[in-house]
Structure formats: C-alpha cells, structure tokens
C-alpha cells in the first residue's frame, strides 16, 4: 500500500512538470498547445545528445533547458502569435502540424530508436522491507518540490508573476492597464517550456530511455491534468496531478482494471466534465 502511494507520488510528479507549464500557457492564451509535448521530448533528447557528446550531466541538462525554453518562445513568436486572432481551431491545427513536424525532425536528427539514458546518480536508493524507492524517483520528488516552491515564489512575490496572473485573468484588460502582454506571454512560454523539458529529462532518467515519439502520450494526457485541475489554475494542476496518479495507481492495484491506466484517466476526465465542467479547482467562467 505504502509502495503504491510512493509510486503514485513519483508518477504524479512526472505529470505535474508538463501540466504546470501547459496550465501557464493555456491559462493565458486559451489555446490547446499540443506541441508542448514536442518540447518535452526535445528536452530529453537534446540532453542525451549533449551527454553523449561528452558534456557533464549538469551542463547537458542546463543547456537543454535553455534550448527548450527558447524553442517554446520561438513557437509562440514565430507561429501562434500571428494566428491568435483567427479563432480557436486555427492555432489548434497549427499546433498539431508543428507537433507532427517536430517528432519527425527528432527522428531524422537522432534516429528512430530508443536510446538508453544511463546515468549514475550520487543519490542513494531508499530500500526498506516494505518500500523501494530508487535514486531516480528521489531525484524526481526533490526536483518537483523545488519547482513547486520556485513557482510559488515567482507567482506570488515577483512582478512577472503578477503580470502572468493578470494576463491569465483577462488578457485584454491586462494590456489596457499597461502590462506588456506580448512579453509576459513570451516569458510564460519560456518558463512553461523549460518545465516541460525538465519533465522530459526526469521521465527519461526514470524510465532509462528516450525516443522521438515519447511525447505522444503526454501530449494529451497533460490536458487531462489541466482539465481536472480547472483550466489555468496552477495550484489545481499540482493537486490534480497527484490525485490522478493516486487514483490510477490505486484502481489498477485494487481491481486490476481491464483497461490501461491512461483510459481510466480519460474516463475520469469525461465523467468529471459531465458533472463539473469547470474542473476540480476551477472557477466558473463567464
């Protein structure tokens, strides 16, 4: 039982990383940014590439995070920014096209095969008679805790955080009150994309493999978390990640459900949408 809870915590952390960034972006622009998962895969693949080139792990990860956040900002500045006025379907389809192109580009650059991501961590494994938590799981939990703390500081204490919240509340109104919305959104993309890349790296570490299509399941799974958390609420996304992971794990453990866990997540999402369309922690819109 305890083992299951711990597994769920690690799993939830992996959801959280990608979902929080997505929440940030969705909260402001209200577009379904499917290519976010492309950034997630890029983070992991680029780290492995740099690491194989002979860079040390810390440098590889830092460079990869910077590159990923720039990639995210480029996606906004180069693509979404120009089609925001054209309704909701256009950015969505554009995002889909980007995601398809990105996955194929990774395949061309780094080969279609799964690559090992074999790194020895200095952290110890946690082994007791009824609990096993590997060092990579511990790393994921620590990183998540740090990320949540930093995000909290960013959103509450800094001016950028205030601007981000204002933009998420009402983009036009924020602009009218003198906030440089374009720059704020770009920062949102920078931060969100770095988080997605970090999530990709940690999941790659945890599963010990990276591959070009590793973003395809997270690309829509992350949206489940965003929906459950109530659109645009970061606190909600954090809670929803863990709740979802816990529920999935416990259902599979207790009942040995027929369908895979992702299907359970979607069933939960549909059921929730039917009865509480604004999400678990969302405010009623309009």
């Amino acid at each position: 039982m305890l083992q299951n809870v711990v597994n769920a915590l690690v799993l939830g952390s992996s959801y959280l990383m990608i979902a929080v960034g997505l929440t940030l972006i969705y909260g402001i622009l209200k577009i379904l940014h499917i290519a976010h998962a492309g950034v997630y895969a890029f983070g992991a693949l680029f780290t492995v590439y740099l690491y194989e080139l002979g860079l040390s792990m810390v440098f590889a990860i830092s460079f990869s995070l910077i590159a990923s956040s720039l990639l995210g900002a480029f996606i906004y500045r180069g693509f979404y920014k120009h089609v925001l006025e054209r309704g909701r379907i256009v950015p969505l389809v554009m995002s889909v096209g980007l995601f398809a192109a990105m996955e194929d580009l990774y395949r061309l650059l780094w080969g279609p095969y799964k690559r090992p991501f074999d790194v020895h961590l200095i952290l110890p494994d946690l082994i007791t008679p009824n609990l096993y938590l590997g060092s990579k799981g511990i790393l994921m939990l620590i990183c998540t805790a740090i990320v949540i703390f930093l995000l909290y500081l960013l959103m509450i204490k800094t001016k950028l955080g205030k601007s981000l919240r204002a933009c998420a509340n009402d983009l036009n109104l924020a602009g009218a009150f003198g906030i440089d919305t374009d720059r704020t959104i770009t920062y949102g993309f920078l931060i969100g994309s770095a988080l997605a890349a970090l999530g990709g790296i940690l999941v790659g570490l945890y599963d010990n493999t990276v591959y070009p299509t590793m973003g395809s399941v997270p690309s829509y799974k992350a949206f489940v978390v965003v929906v459950l958390g109530g659109f645009g609420s970061i606190r909600g996304a954090v809670m929803a990640s863990y709740i979802l992971a816990l529920v999935e794990t416990l259902i599979v453990y207790k009942f040995g459900f027929l369908l895979p866990r992702d299907a359970i997540a979607f069933l939960a999402m549909i059921a929730l949408l039917m009865f509480k369309p604004e999400g678990l922690f969302g405010k009623v819109q309009r």
Binding site: V93, V96, A100, Y220, F223, M274
Partner: protein, 303 residues
C-alpha cells in the same frame, strides 16, 4: 503508379472524403469541435467485423447494422457534448477516442492489438468485389454522402445548426433546442463515419485498433480545416490533398512527415479559412454573394 496502387489510394481518398464530410457537419455546420472522430470510424469498422466474422452475418446486413450501431453510439458519445462546450468538448472527445481504442486493444472479444482477421469482401449476384469494382462501389457511396450533405445544406436542419453554432444561448432563447440539434449532428456524423469504417474494414479485410487512434482523428480534422471549414467542397479538397500528398511526397521518404507538418502549418498561416474558403474569398470577394459568404465563414472560424 500501377493501376491497382492508384485505385487503392483512391479508395482511401474517398473513404477519407466521407470522414471529412461527416466531421465537417459537426465542426463547420454545428460548431462542435471534435478531436475523436476516428472513434466513430473505428466503431463502424469493428461493428461490421464482429457481425461478419464472429456472427457470420451477410455483408449487406452487416453494412446496415454497422451504420446503425455507429449512429447510435454517435448519439451516446454526443451526450458529453450536451454538457460541455468548446475546448472542454475537444478534450472530452480526445478522451472518448482514447477509451474506444483502449477497449478495442484490451478486450479479448475484439481480438486485442492484432484485431480481427478475415473479413469478407462484399458479394453481389455472385460477383466478389475485387479492387476495381470496390473502387466503384466506394465511389457510389461517396457520391451519395456528398449529395446528402449538399441536401442538408439547404434544409431547416442546417438553419438549426447555424443558430447553434452562432450562439447557443441565443438559440435556446428563441426556442431552438440546442440539445436536439447537437444530437442530430452527432448522430449524422456517427452514421457517416460508421459507413466509412465499414468500407475501410471490408477493403482491408482486417481491422486493428491502431488505425482508429488519436492521430487519425487529427488527420481528419486537418483535412477539414485545410480544405475549408463550413464549406461544402472544402472537406473533399482537403481529403484529396492530405491523402494524396504523402503519396506524392514518397520521393522525399525521410522528410515526408516533416514536409506534411509544415504544409499544415503554412496553410494555417496564409490561408486560415482553408483552401476552398480562401479561394472563394479571393474570387468572389467583391460580389454581394461573395460578401455574404465571407461573412458566414468569418462567423464560423471566429476571425
């Protein structure tokens, strides 16, 4: 291109045309964006597969039942649409798609990841449909569906959809039941996609879950949007382009999906109303009819 290869690609193109036309009823006419259309497609295909292979039903009876079943399930899957709107609906339909494929994938009755093998080719007056006859058969169905959609475009049904798309609350306030029209839209889309599923399944003579997964839904949406949302010919043009494009790009092998992805991105960049929509605007833009049309498209795409 040999003839058989050309015919095969044509069959896929026509099946995709039916799918795109049916999705366009949901998106372009009724304003309900669905990203799970491949689920209906899959239900039609699997219903037919189960009926013919597991129960030994005749093809023509199976055709009837599979269309009805997917229409019915379309109604059921339309239920979430009664409660949720816009982006929430997009996500709900992604979820539905995923759950349906998981059911095909993990329930033993549906054969698991390898699907169901050995579907019969249709037979009429003792003649088994080979590739050539089958292409003709699919062409007939595509024509029927096309004219059906065209017919719908001129009826009160279309007016109901229009009001629903423009403003749901306003529609309710003048006595148009948005729930009823949503159900109509989902049922019709389900029926047509089910037909497409049946045609696909009996052409391939095998069904397997992967062909009905989320990327396929995205492909169908892409056809509709690239062709032109809310136009009659848009989905047809989109389906022809998107199905033939990868074949034409075959010389570029490794770069296929890359080029394909960027074509989608740049179509959205320069022709956000889709190819047919933008062309119409350019050609008829100055006439009164053209202005009326542009106004309509503007309302659909919200731009």
């Amino acid at each position: 291109m040999s003839l058989d290869y050309f015919l095969t690609v044509s069959v896929f193109t026509m099946i995709n045309t039916i799918l795109a036309l049916s999705l366009n009823i949901l998106i372009g006419y009724a304003g309900q964006v669905s990203l799970g259309h491949a689920a209906f497609f899959g239900i039609g295909a699997y219903a037919s597969a189960v009926l013919t292979v597991k129960f030994g039903l005749d093809y023509w009876l199976a055709l009837l039942f599979s269309i009805l079943v997917s229409g019915l399930i379309g109604l059921l899957l339309g239920l979430p649409a009664l409660r949720v709107k816009e982006d929430f609906l997009v996500l709900a339909t992604i979820g539905i798609n995923f759950v349906v494929v998981s059911v095909f994938n993990y329930v033993k009755f549906f054969g698991g990841p390898y699907g169901i093998l050995g579907l019969p080719r249709p037979k009429l007056f003792g003649i088994v449909f080979n590739t050539k006859i089958y292409a003709l058969y699919v062409l007939i169905w595509t024509t029927v569906v096309f004219f059906l959609v065209r017919y719908i475009s001129n009826t009160y049904l279309k007016l109901g959809f229009d009001t629903l798309r423009e403003n749901e609350d306003a529609a309710e306030s003048v006595g148009v039941s948005s729930a009823r029209y949503k159900m109509y839209a989902f049922a019709m889309a389900g029926l047509m996609a089910g037909l497409a599923g049946n045609l696909w399944a009996h052409y391939m003579t095998v069904v397997f879950p992967d062909n009905f997964s989320f990327p396929v839904s995205i492909g169908i949406l892409t056809m509709v949007v690239v062709g032109g949302v809310g136009t009659l010919f848009g989905p047809v043009v989109g389906a022809v382009l998107i199905t033939f494009l990868p074949e034409l790009l075959r010389f570029a092998r490794d770069y296929r999906m890359l080029i394909y992805g960027f074509i989608i991105v740049f179509t959205m960049f320069f022709m956000p109303k889709g190819i047919v929509g933008s062309m119409k605007e350019r050609i008829f833009g100055e006439t009164p009819l053209g202005r009326k049309y542009i106004e309509k498209v503007r309302r659909v795409t919200g731009s």
